[in-house]
Protein backbone atom coordinates (compact mmCIF):
# COMPACT_ATOMS: atom_id res chain seq x y z
CA UNK A 1 0.00 0.00 0.00
CA UNK A 2 3.00 2.26 0.62
CA UNK A 3 3.30 4.59 -2.38
CA UNK A 4 0.35 2.94 -4.12
CA UNK A 5 -0.62 6.10 -6.02
CA UNK A 6 2.58 6.14 -8.10
CA UNK A 7 1.63 2.70 -9.44
CA UNK A 8 -1.99 3.53 -10.29
CA UNK A 9 -3.36 4.47 -13.69
CA UNK A 10 -5.02 7.86 -14.22
CA UNK A 11 -8.57 6.55 -14.42
CA UNK A 12 -8.58 4.99 -10.97
CA UNK A 13 -7.00 8.14 -9.50
CA UNK A 14 -9.67 10.35 -11.08
CA UNK A 15 -12.44 7.95 -10.14
CA UNK A 16 -11.19 7.97 -6.53
CA UNK A 17 -11.60 11.75 -6.31
CA UNK A 18 -15.18 11.48 -7.59
CA UNK A 19 -15.97 8.63 -5.18
CA UNK A 20 -14.90 10.83 -2.28
CA UNK A 21 -17.12 13.61 -3.64
CA UNK A 22 -20.09 11.26 -3.72
CA UNK A 23 -19.21 10.26 -0.15
CA UNK A 24 -19.16 13.95 0.76
CA UNK A 25 -22.70 14.29 -0.56
CA UNK A 26 -23.95 12.05 2.27
CA UNK A 27 -22.10 13.88 5.04
CA UNK A 28 -24.69 15.19 7.51
CA UNK A 29 -23.05 15.19 10.94
CA UNK A 30 -19.98 16.99 12.19
CA UNK A 31 -18.71 13.99 14.17
CA UNK A 32 -18.96 11.66 11.18
CA UNK A 33 -16.99 13.95 8.91
CA UNK A 34 -14.29 14.47 11.57
CA UNK A 35 -13.77 10.70 11.77
CA UNK A 36 -13.64 10.56 7.96
CA UNK A 37 -11.03 13.34 7.86
CA UNK A 38 -8.95 11.58 10.51
CA UNK A 39 -8.92 8.35 8.49
CA UNK A 40 -7.90 10.28 5.39
CA UNK A 41 -5.12 12.03 7.28
CA UNK A 42 -3.61 8.60 8.03
CA UNK A 43 -4.37 6.82 4.77
CA UNK A 44 -3.49 9.44 2.15
CA UNK A 45 0.16 9.96 3.24
CA UNK A 46 0.59 6.16 3.15
CA UNK A 47 -0.81 6.04 -0.40
CA UNK A 48 1.48 8.89 -1.43
CA UNK A 49 4.50 7.19 0.15
CA UNK A 50 7.93 8.39 -0.73
CA UNK A 51 6.80 10.26 -3.84
CA UNK A 52 5.60 13.23 -1.78
CA UNK A 53 3.73 16.23 -3.16
CA UNK A 54 4.48 19.95 -2.97
CA UNK A 55 2.64 21.06 0.22
CA UNK A 56 1.66 24.34 -1.48
CA UNK A 57 -0.74 22.37 -3.67
CA UNK A 58 -2.94 21.89 -0.59
CA UNK A 59 -3.22 25.60 0.16
CA UNK A 60 -6.11 26.33 -2.25
CA UNK A 61 -8.10 23.52 -0.61
CA UNK A 62 -7.56 24.99 2.83
CA UNK A 63 -8.70 28.38 1.53
CA UNK A 64 -11.80 26.70 0.07
CA UNK A 65 -12.54 25.01 3.39
CA UNK A 66 -12.17 28.25 5.36
CA UNK A 67 -14.26 30.28 2.93
CA UNK A 68 -17.07 27.71 2.86
CA UNK A 69 -17.09 27.57 6.65
CA UNK A 70 -17.21 31.36 6.85
CA UNK A 71 -19.95 31.87 4.27
CA UNK A 72 -22.06 29.17 5.89
CA UNK A 73 -21.68 30.77 9.28
CA UNK A 74 -22.99 33.99 7.72
CA UNK A 75 -25.79 32.60 5.60
CA UNK A 76 -26.87 29.18 6.85
CA UNK A 77 -30.12 28.80 8.70
CA UNK A 78 -30.11 28.54 11.70
CA UNK A 79 -26.79 30.31 12.27
CA UNK A 80 -24.38 28.10 14.18
CA UNK A 81 -20.73 27.17 14.18
CA UNK A 82 -21.61 23.51 14.07
CA UNK A 83 -23.40 23.83 10.74
CA UNK A 84 -20.64 26.06 9.38
CA UNK A 85 -17.94 23.58 10.40
CA UNK A 86 -19.97 20.72 8.95
CA UNK A 87 -20.11 22.53 5.57
CA UNK A 88 -16.38 23.26 5.70
CA UNK A 89 -15.57 19.72 6.79
CA UNK A 90 -17.63 18.25 3.97
CA UNK A 91 -15.63 20.27 1.45
CA UNK A 92 -12.34 19.32 3.10
CA UNK A 93 -13.37 15.65 3.03
CA UNK A 94 -13.22 15.46 -0.75
CA UNK A 95 -11.16 18.48 -1.82
CA UNK A 96 -8.02 17.87 0.26
CA UNK A 97 -7.51 14.24 -0.84
CA UNK A 98 -8.43 15.18 -4.41
CA UNK A 99 -5.74 17.88 -4.45
CA UNK A 100 -3.21 15.21 -3.43
CA UNK A 101 -4.49 12.64 -5.91
CA UNK A 102 -4.45 14.92 -8.97
CA UNK A 103 -0.71 15.45 -8.46
CA UNK A 104 -0.33 11.87 -9.71
CA UNK A 105 -2.11 12.51 -13.01
CA UNK A 106 -0.13 12.73 -16.21
CA UNK A 107 -2.12 14.31 -19.07
CA UNK A 108 -0.54 12.14 -21.75
CA UNK A 109 -1.22 8.85 -19.95
CA UNK A 110 -4.71 10.12 -19.19
CA UNK A 111 -5.27 10.69 -22.92
CA UNK A 112 -4.21 7.11 -23.70
CA UNK A 113 -6.61 5.77 -21.07
CA UNK A 114 -9.53 7.99 -22.07
CA UNK A 115 -9.21 6.85 -25.67
CA UNK A 116 -8.56 3.14 -25.17
CA UNK A 117 -10.28 2.24 -21.91
CA UNK A 118 -13.20 4.68 -21.76
CA UNK A 119 -13.47 4.64 -25.58
CA UNK A 120 -13.96 8.38 -25.80
CA UNK A 121 -13.82 9.63 -29.41
CA UNK A 122 -10.14 9.53 -30.40
CA UNK A 123 -9.85 12.77 -32.32
CA UNK A 124 -11.00 15.17 -29.56
CA UNK A 125 -8.90 13.28 -26.99
CA UNK A 126 -5.79 13.49 -29.15
CA UNK A 127 -6.46 17.15 -29.95
CA UNK A 128 -6.55 17.86 -26.22
CA UNK A 129 -3.34 15.90 -25.58
CA UNK A 130 -1.54 17.61 -28.47
CA UNK A 131 -2.73 21.02 -27.27
CA UNK A 132 -1.53 20.27 -23.72
CA UNK A 133 1.93 19.70 -25.13
CA UNK A 134 1.90 23.35 -26.16
CA UNK A 135 1.48 24.40 -22.53
CA UNK A 136 5.14 25.16 -21.96
CA UNK A 137 5.73 26.91 -25.26
CA UNK A 138 2.76 29.11 -24.40
CA UNK A 139 4.67 30.88 -21.63
CA UNK A 140 7.66 31.28 -23.95
CA UNK A 141 5.32 32.88 -26.52
CA UNK A 142 4.03 35.22 -23.84
CA UNK A 143 7.55 36.39 -23.05
CA UNK A 144 8.41 36.88 -26.70
CA UNK A 145 5.28 38.97 -27.24
CA UNK A 146 6.00 41.00 -24.13
CA UNK A 147 9.58 41.71 -25.19
CA UNK A 148 8.55 42.59 -28.73
CA UNK A 149 6.06 45.11 -27.36
CA UNK A 150 8.54 46.72 -25.04
CA UNK A 151 11.11 47.03 -27.82
CA UNK A 152 8.55 48.84 -29.94
CA UNK A 153 7.74 51.19 -27.10
CA UNK A 154 4.36 49.53 -26.52
CA UNK A 155 5.11 48.38 -22.99
CA UNK A 156 2.70 49.11 -20.14
CA UNK A 157 2.68 52.40 -18.29
CA UNK A 158 2.74 52.54 -14.50
CA UNK A 159 -0.94 52.95 -13.68
CA UNK A 160 -3.14 49.92 -12.97
CA UNK A 161 -5.38 50.88 -15.91
CA UNK A 162 -2.47 50.89 -18.34
CA UNK A 163 -1.31 47.56 -16.97
CA UNK A 164 -4.80 46.13 -17.37
CA UNK A 165 -4.97 47.32 -20.97
CA UNK A 166 -1.53 45.87 -21.66
CA UNK A 167 -2.63 42.54 -20.14
CA UNK A 168 -5.80 42.46 -22.27
CA UNK A 169 -4.01 43.20 -25.53
CA UNK A 170 -1.28 40.68 -24.68
CA UNK A 171 -3.91 38.02 -23.99
CA UNK A 172 -5.58 38.66 -27.33
CA UNK A 173 -2.20 38.53 -29.10
CA UNK A 174 -1.46 35.23 -27.37
CA UNK A 175 -4.82 33.78 -28.43
CA UNK A 176 -4.22 34.90 -32.03
CA UNK A 177 -0.82 33.24 -31.96
CA UNK A 178 -2.37 30.09 -30.42
CA UNK A 179 -5.05 29.89 -33.14
CA UNK A 180 -2.42 30.30 -35.87
CA UNK A 181 -0.34 27.54 -34.27
CA UNK A 182 -3.43 25.34 -34.20
CA UNK A 183 -3.65 25.75 -37.98
CA UNK A 184 -0.05 24.60 -38.42
CA UNK A 185 -0.55 21.74 -35.94
CA UNK A 186 -3.58 20.58 -37.91
CA UNK A 187 -1.56 20.29 -41.11
CA UNK A 188 1.19 18.38 -39.29
CA UNK A 189 -1.24 16.04 -37.53
CA UNK A 190 -3.33 15.37 -40.63
CA UNK A 191 -0.11 14.47 -42.48
CA UNK A 192 0.43 11.80 -39.82
CA UNK A 193 -3.00 10.23 -40.22
CA UNK A 194 -4.93 12.05 -37.49
CA UNK A 195 -8.26 11.67 -39.32
CA UNK A 196 -7.35 8.50 -41.25
CA UNK A 197 -9.76 6.30 -39.31
CA UNK A 198 -12.77 8.57 -39.89
CA UNK A 199 -15.38 6.94 -42.12
CA UNK A 200 -14.30 3.34 -41.62
CA UNK A 201 -10.62 3.72 -42.42
CA UNK A 202 -7.83 1.84 -40.70
CA UNK A 203 -8.20 1.27 -36.94
CA UNK A 204 -6.29 3.73 -34.79
CA UNK A 205 -3.16 2.72 -32.94
CA UNK A 206 -2.04 4.32 -29.67
CA UNK A 207 1.40 5.06 -28.29
CA UNK A 208 0.99 3.35 -24.93
CA UNK A 209 -1.29 0.59 -23.74
CA UNK A 210 -3.84 1.49 -21.08
CA UNK A 211 -4.04 -1.44 -18.67
CA UNK A 212 -6.26 -1.57 -15.59
CA UNK A 213 -4.04 -3.14 -12.95
CA UNK A 214 -4.54 -4.75 -9.54
CA UNK A 215 -3.26 -1.52 -7.97
CA UNK A 216 -6.11 0.38 -9.62
CA UNK A 217 -8.65 -2.01 -8.12
CA UNK A 218 -7.01 -1.79 -4.67
CA UNK A 219 -7.14 2.01 -4.78
CA UNK A 220 -10.81 2.00 -5.78
CA UNK A 221 -11.62 -0.47 -2.99
CA UNK A 222 -9.79 1.54 -0.32
CA UNK A 223 -11.23 4.87 -1.39
CA UNK A 224 -14.76 3.48 -1.64
CA UNK A 225 -14.42 2.29 1.96
CA UNK A 226 -13.17 5.70 3.13
CA UNK A 227 -15.87 7.55 1.18
CA UNK A 228 -18.53 5.44 2.89
CA UNK A 229 -17.24 6.10 6.43
CA UNK A 230 -19.28 9.25 7.26
CA UNK A 231 -22.48 7.74 5.86
CA UNK A 232 -21.95 4.49 7.79
CA UNK A 233 -21.27 6.33 11.05
CA UNK A 234 -24.48 8.32 10.60
CA UNK A 235 -26.46 5.16 9.89
CA UNK A 236 -25.18 3.01 12.76
CA UNK A 237 -23.39 5.42 15.09
Amino acid sequence: MWGLLSRCGPLSVLAATFLLTIGGLFVGELQAVLVGLAIEAVLIPILVGRAGIPPLRLLPGIVAMVSVTWSNWLLAEPRSWEIALLAGGRVAFFVLPALVLVCFLDPFTLGDHLGQRLRLPARPVLAAVAALQRLESLSADWETLDRARRVRGLGPGRGPLARGRHLASMTLALLVEAVRQAGRMTVAMEARGYSAHVGGGRPRTWLETAPWTREDSVLIGLITAVAAVPALIQLFG
Binding site: V95, V102, R134, L172
Partner: protein, 227 residues
Protein backbone atom coordinates in the same frame (compact mmCIF):
# COMPACT_ATOMS: atom_id res chain seq x y z
CA UNK B 1 -29.21 33.02 -47.16
CA UNK B 2 -31.83 35.60 -48.02
CA UNK B 3 -31.58 37.09 -44.54
CA UNK B 4 -28.68 39.20 -45.76
CA UNK B 5 -30.91 40.97 -48.26
CA UNK B 6 -33.81 41.36 -45.87
CA UNK B 7 -31.54 43.12 -43.40
CA UNK B 8 -28.89 44.99 -45.38
CA UNK B 9 -27.16 46.20 -42.20
CA UNK B 10 -23.68 44.82 -41.69
CA UNK B 11 -23.19 41.86 -39.35
CA UNK B 12 -26.68 40.41 -39.88
CA UNK B 13 -25.48 37.33 -41.70
CA UNK B 14 -25.10 34.29 -39.47
CA UNK B 15 -22.39 32.03 -40.82
CA UNK B 16 -22.77 28.35 -39.94
CA UNK B 17 -20.31 25.50 -39.65
CA UNK B 18 -19.22 24.08 -43.00
CA UNK B 19 -21.07 20.99 -44.28
CA UNK B 20 -23.57 20.94 -41.42
CA UNK B 21 -23.04 20.98 -37.67
CA UNK B 22 -21.89 17.36 -37.33
CA UNK B 23 -19.06 17.42 -39.89
CA UNK B 24 -16.22 18.06 -37.46
CA UNK B 25 -12.97 19.02 -39.18
CA UNK B 26 -9.55 18.31 -37.71
CA UNK B 27 -8.99 22.07 -37.64
CA UNK B 28 -12.09 22.57 -35.45
CA UNK B 29 -10.95 20.04 -32.87
CA UNK B 30 -7.35 21.18 -32.66
CA UNK B 31 -8.17 24.90 -32.60
CA UNK B 32 -10.70 24.38 -29.80
CA UNK B 33 -8.19 22.36 -27.79
CA UNK B 34 -5.43 24.94 -28.23
CA UNK B 35 -7.84 27.75 -27.37
CA UNK B 36 -8.89 25.75 -24.31
CA UNK B 37 -5.29 25.40 -23.17
CA UNK B 38 -4.64 29.13 -23.61
CA UNK B 39 -7.81 30.03 -21.70
CA UNK B 40 -6.98 27.42 -19.04
CA UNK B 41 -3.68 29.15 -18.41
CA UNK B 42 -5.54 32.45 -18.18
CA UNK B 43 -7.90 30.79 -15.62
CA UNK B 44 -5.00 29.61 -13.60
CA UNK B 45 -3.43 33.07 -13.66
CA UNK B 46 -6.73 34.51 -12.46
CA UNK B 47 -7.09 31.77 -9.81
CA UNK B 48 -3.63 32.36 -8.46
CA UNK B 49 -3.25 36.13 -8.53
CA UNK B 50 -6.67 37.80 -8.61
CA UNK B 51 -9.25 35.34 -7.31
CA UNK B 52 -8.14 35.22 -3.69
CA UNK B 53 -7.86 39.00 -3.13
CA UNK B 54 -11.27 39.48 -4.79
CA UNK B 55 -12.74 36.65 -2.77
CA UNK B 56 -11.40 38.11 0.47
CA UNK B 57 -12.75 41.51 -0.54
CA UNK B 58 -16.22 40.04 -1.05
CA UNK B 59 -16.15 37.81 2.06
CA UNK B 60 -18.54 40.14 3.86
CA UNK B 61 -21.22 39.28 1.31
CA UNK B 62 -20.37 35.77 -0.03
CA UNK B 63 -23.07 35.59 -2.77
CA UNK B 64 -21.24 38.44 -4.51
CA UNK B 65 -18.35 36.02 -5.04
CA UNK B 66 -20.57 34.31 -7.59
CA UNK B 67 -20.29 37.46 -9.72
CA UNK B 68 -16.96 35.96 -10.82
CA UNK B 69 -18.49 32.66 -11.97
CA UNK B 70 -18.83 33.77 -15.60
CA UNK B 71 -15.05 33.79 -16.04
CA UNK B 72 -15.05 30.00 -15.89
CA UNK B 73 -17.97 29.67 -18.32
CA UNK B 74 -16.38 31.94 -20.91
CA UNK B 75 -14.41 29.19 -22.75
CA UNK B 76 -17.64 27.24 -23.30
CA UNK B 77 -19.38 30.23 -24.88
CA UNK B 78 -16.29 31.22 -26.88
CA UNK B 79 -15.76 27.65 -28.14
CA UNK B 80 -19.37 27.32 -29.28
CA UNK B 81 -19.37 30.73 -30.99
CA UNK B 82 -16.11 29.91 -32.79
CA UNK B 83 -16.82 26.42 -34.14
CA UNK B 84 -20.66 26.19 -34.05
CA UNK B 85 -20.87 22.41 -33.79
CA UNK B 86 -22.41 20.16 -31.11
CA UNK B 87 -19.77 19.50 -28.45
CA UNK B 88 -17.69 22.60 -29.23
CA UNK B 89 -18.43 24.19 -25.85
CA UNK B 90 -17.73 20.91 -24.10
CA UNK B 91 -14.32 20.35 -25.71
CA UNK B 92 -13.05 23.90 -25.16
CA UNK B 93 -14.29 24.02 -21.56
CA UNK B 94 -13.04 20.56 -20.58
CA UNK B 95 -9.56 21.27 -21.94
CA UNK B 96 -9.46 24.59 -20.08
CA UNK B 97 -10.65 22.86 -16.88
CA UNK B 98 -8.02 20.11 -17.27
CA UNK B 99 -5.26 22.70 -17.57
CA UNK B 100 -6.55 24.44 -14.47
CA UNK B 101 -6.61 21.11 -12.61
CA UNK B 102 -3.10 20.13 -13.69
CA UNK B 103 -1.61 23.50 -12.75
CA UNK B 104 -3.32 23.41 -9.36
CA UNK B 105 -6.62 24.91 -8.27
CA UNK B 106 -9.04 25.14 -5.37
CA UNK B 107 -11.39 22.31 -6.35
CA UNK B 108 -8.87 19.81 -7.80
CA UNK B 109 -10.55 17.34 -10.18
CA UNK B 110 -13.98 18.72 -9.30
CA UNK B 111 -13.29 21.49 -11.83
CA UNK B 112 -13.86 18.77 -14.45
CA UNK B 113 -17.36 18.23 -13.10
CA UNK B 114 -17.93 21.99 -12.92
CA UNK B 115 -16.65 22.40 -16.49
CA UNK B 116 -18.96 19.63 -17.69
CA UNK B 117 -22.01 21.26 -16.10
CA UNK B 118 -21.13 24.75 -17.35
CA UNK B 119 -20.49 23.55 -20.89
CA UNK B 120 -23.73 21.56 -20.94
CA UNK B 121 -25.64 24.80 -20.34
CA UNK B 122 -24.20 26.26 -23.54
CA UNK B 123 -24.67 22.99 -25.44
CA UNK B 124 -28.35 22.80 -24.49
CA UNK B 125 -29.05 26.35 -25.69
CA UNK B 126 -27.21 25.76 -28.97
CA UNK B 127 -29.06 22.47 -29.50
CA UNK B 128 -32.45 24.14 -28.86
CA UNK B 129 -31.78 26.32 -31.92
CA UNK B 130 -30.40 23.28 -33.75
CA UNK B 131 -27.01 24.96 -34.17
CA UNK B 132 -28.45 27.66 -36.45
CA UNK B 133 -28.37 30.67 -34.20
CA UNK B 134 -25.12 32.10 -32.88
CA UNK B 135 -25.96 35.66 -31.95
CA UNK B 136 -25.88 37.65 -28.74
CA UNK B 137 -28.96 35.78 -27.48
CA UNK B 138 -27.22 32.40 -27.69
CA UNK B 139 -24.12 33.74 -25.95
CA UNK B 140 -26.07 35.29 -23.08
CA UNK B 141 -28.56 32.45 -22.58
CA UNK B 142 -25.75 29.89 -22.84
CA UNK B 143 -23.78 31.71 -20.16
CA UNK B 144 -26.85 31.96 -17.92
CA UNK B 145 -27.85 28.30 -18.29
CA UNK B 146 -24.23 27.25 -17.68
CA UNK B 147 -24.33 29.19 -14.41
CA UNK B 148 -27.71 27.67 -13.46
CA UNK B 149 -26.46 24.10 -14.05
CA UNK B 150 -23.28 24.78 -12.11
CA UNK B 151 -25.00 26.32 -9.09
CA UNK B 152 -28.15 24.19 -8.89
CA UNK B 153 -26.50 20.84 -9.58
CA UNK B 154 -23.19 21.40 -7.81
CA UNK B 155 -22.79 24.45 -5.54
CA UNK B 156 -26.15 24.01 -3.83
CA UNK B 157 -25.09 20.46 -2.86
CA UNK B 158 -21.68 21.38 -1.53
CA UNK B 159 -20.54 24.95 -0.91
CA UNK B 160 -24.03 26.39 -0.27
CA UNK B 161 -25.96 23.36 0.97
CA UNK B 162 -26.92 24.73 4.38
CA UNK B 163 -27.78 28.23 3.14
CA UNK B 164 -31.34 29.37 3.68
CA UNK B 165 -33.49 29.31 0.52
CA UNK B 166 -33.46 33.08 0.20
CA UNK B 167 -29.66 33.11 0.19
CA UNK B 168 -29.49 30.16 -2.19
CA UNK B 169 -31.58 32.12 -4.67
CA UNK B 170 -29.51 35.30 -4.29
CA UNK B 171 -26.41 33.15 -4.81
CA UNK B 172 -28.00 31.76 -7.99
CA UNK B 173 -29.01 35.21 -9.26
CA UNK B 174 -25.46 36.54 -8.83
CA UNK B 175 -24.15 33.56 -10.80
CA UNK B 176 -26.69 34.09 -13.58
CA UNK B 177 -25.77 37.77 -13.92
CA UNK B 178 -22.14 36.81 -14.16
CA UNK B 179 -22.91 34.10 -16.72
CA UNK B 180 -24.79 36.60 -18.87
CA UNK B 181 -22.26 39.43 -18.64
CA UNK B 182 -18.81 37.86 -18.34
CA UNK B 183 -19.38 34.56 -20.19
CA UNK B 184 -22.06 35.76 -22.64
CA UNK B 185 -21.08 39.32 -23.54
CA UNK B 186 -17.39 38.65 -22.77
CA UNK B 187 -17.20 35.45 -24.80
CA UNK B 188 -18.85 37.14 -27.76
CA UNK B 189 -16.55 40.16 -27.50
CA UNK B 190 -13.52 37.85 -27.39
CA UNK B 191 -14.55 35.95 -30.51
CA UNK B 192 -15.35 39.18 -32.36
CA UNK B 193 -11.96 40.58 -31.41
CA UNK B 194 -10.31 37.38 -32.67
CA UNK B 195 -12.31 37.59 -35.91
CA UNK B 196 -11.22 41.20 -36.44
CA UNK B 197 -7.56 40.13 -36.40
CA UNK B 198 -8.17 37.75 -39.31
CA UNK B 199 -6.87 34.77 -37.33
CA UNK B 200 -10.13 32.81 -37.52
CA UNK B 201 -11.04 33.32 -41.17
CA UNK B 202 -11.42 29.54 -41.54
CA UNK B 203 -14.30 29.64 -39.02
CA UNK B 204 -17.83 31.08 -39.18
CA UNK B 205 -17.04 34.22 -37.09
CA UNK B 206 -14.22 35.02 -39.52
CA UNK B 207 -16.64 34.66 -42.41
CA UNK B 208 -19.11 36.96 -40.67
CA UNK B 209 -16.40 39.53 -40.14
CA UNK B 210 -15.37 39.45 -43.80
CA UNK B 211 -18.99 39.89 -44.86
CA UNK B 212 -19.48 42.75 -42.40
CA UNK B 213 -16.42 44.56 -43.78
CA UNK B 214 -17.51 43.91 -47.36
CA UNK B 215 -14.51 41.74 -48.25
CA UNK B 216 -16.83 38.81 -48.88
CA UNK B 217 -20.42 38.85 -50.09
CA UNK B 218 -22.99 36.20 -49.21
CA UNK B 219 -23.28 35.12 -52.84
CA UNK B 220 -19.59 34.17 -52.71
CA UNK B 221 -20.38 31.53 -50.09
CA UNK B 222 -21.01 28.18 -51.88
CA UNK B 223 -24.71 27.38 -52.23
CA UNK B 224 -24.53 24.12 -50.27
CA UNK B 225 -23.36 25.98 -47.21
CA UNK B 226 -26.20 28.47 -47.14
CA UNK B 227 -29.13 27.65 -45.01
Amino acid sequence: MSQQFAHPTAGRHTALAKHGPFAWRALDLITLAVLGVALGVAFWGFDTFLYYPLKALLAGFPPAQQLMLGIWILPAVAGMLLVRRPGAALLCEMVAASVEMLLGTEWASLVLLAGLLQAMGVEVVAALWRWRRFDLMLAVLGGVLGAVFQIVLYQWWFAAREFSWAWKLIYLAAGMISGAVIAGLGGRALIRALAATGAVNAFPPGEEHLIATGELTTDMVPVGEKE
